[in-house]
Structures are given as C-alpha cells and as structure tokens.
Amino acid sequence: MAINWFKYSAPSTFYALAGKLIPWFAISAAMLFAVGLYIGFFVAPVDYQQGEFYRIIFIHVPASILSMFLYLVMAGYAALGLIFNTRLSAMMATAIAPTGALFAFISLWTGALWGKPMWGAWWVWDARLTSELILLFLYLGYMALHSSIDDPRRADRASALLAIVGSVNVPIIYFSVKWWNTLHQGSTIKFSGTSMHVAMQQAMFIMLAACWLYAIAIVLARVRSVILERERQTKWVAELPEVRA
C-alpha cells in the first residue's frame, strides 16, 4: 500500500501525526540517555592519556554533530519553503532553530570544560571552535531576524535566505581540522576504522541516538505550537478538542 506523503505536508494532518509521535520519540530518548550514561560512566574504561576527562565526549560529540546536522535540516526546510512556498516547511525551520542553537551551545560549553584540563585553556581561537561559535551566532541571527519581522511569511523568506547562506559554514566546521593546523583533534572514528574501545563507541553512538530522538521530539512539540499560532484563524484549529476544552 503506497503512502501519500504529500498528505503530511498539510499543517492540519501533520499536527495530529506529530502529537502521536512525540511520546514515542521522548520515551525512547529517555531510555537511550539512561543506557548511554550508564555505559559511558560505568562500563567504558578510563582513557590512558586523558583519564576521566575524556568522558565529556559522550555528550560533546553528539551535541556537535546535532548542531551541524540540525542546521542543514533547518536550511533544507527553509529552502523548501522559499522555493515551493509550503507553509509547513517554514514552520519546521522555525521550530528547529532553538534546539540547534542549544546543541551548539552545549557543544561549545562541554568543549570548554574539556579544554581546561587538557589544553590548560577554556577557549582558544582555533578554526574548529571559532566556526562552531559562528554556527551558534547564525542560529541566533536566524531567530532574531525571524522575530523582528511582523508578517510571518515575509519573516520566513528573509530568514530562509540567511539559513541557506549560513549553511556554507557547516562544511567549514567539519573540514576545519583538515584544512588548517588546529589544536582541536581530528576525527577518531573514520570509515577506515577506529582505535576507540568498543564500550566507548557504544556509549557515544547510544548518546548520539538519544540526542537525535530528543531533538525530534522537542522539535515536533515546538512545531505544534507554531502551527497553532499560524493557523489560529482556521476552522480545523477551532475544532480541536484542546481548543474547545
């Protein structure tokens, strides 16, 4: 049986679908966080060079990956909204931005916490760190620009341009450790293999999955409010049980 995916591009259909999906993503995220933290703190061995401080990577790496990937997803939705004028795409882009900004902030914060005992400094103007900081500013700029324009459709178009132009920063962050001589270490996990202990890999991938599921759940919850706000004059919103209650 073929699924009509276009049906879910209508805010009314997507609102109901998101409401059903949120608990599944949220519960799975909570369970994976618990398992990931257990393996990260109690199963994964101590690193022979970094001692216990290396355990920051189980939140730092997933937060950094999410901050970059969410930006690309946000820019993708913004581009879809700009090209096809689809209402839901712009709403999704708006809903992703705060979560992406928080992951960028967590990435910078935990990086600083790791940097102090390892490098002896909370912050250095390294290419990787600076480009990640620019990513945080891009998220904040996107949200500020969007909220500064009263007409939501005009705000969508203006901020979509910023999101699309800003997406050039994502490959810069990723390749910065290869293009420049940076203090930040390169990728430990490569396609050719890794020297990481298997428990460390498990903890990192489980925490990455947990962060992903959390991000999906919270974005879906936020987009439901955005949909309600933008579609408040429509009949389907007036007929919702939570509105009539």
Binding site: L37, F41, G51, E52, F53, R55, I56, I59, H60, A63, P98, T99, L102, F105, I106, W109, T110, L113, K116, P117, Y214, I218, A221, R222, R224, S225, L228, E229, R232, V237, A238, E242, V243
Partner: protein, 56 residues
Amino acid sequence: MTGLDIWMRENPLTYVWLGSYAFALLIFVVELVLVRHKRKLTLEQIRLLREAGEED
C-alpha cells in the same frame, strides 16, 4: 594552579558529571518547560480569540 584546577584534577568524575551532563540535562529540562509553557500560552490565546469571536 588555581583552586578550580586543583579541585578538577582531584575530582575528575564530579567535574565531568556536573559540568557537562548535569548542565546539558538542565538545558534540556528548561527547553521542555519553555515548549510546554509556549503551548499553554498559544492555546489560551486561541481560546480567547474564539470567545471574542463568539461574542461578536
């Protein structure tokens, strides 16, 4: 070496847990509360609009 440097080297797990994980979890909780609050506010606004419309 400052007091913080000495403390973090003596208590690395507490430093890692409190500084990174507890802080990140706190951020997630704050985000959750804000999203729920926003939904509550939006629903209240829509109900008020609806009531105003019915009165007209």
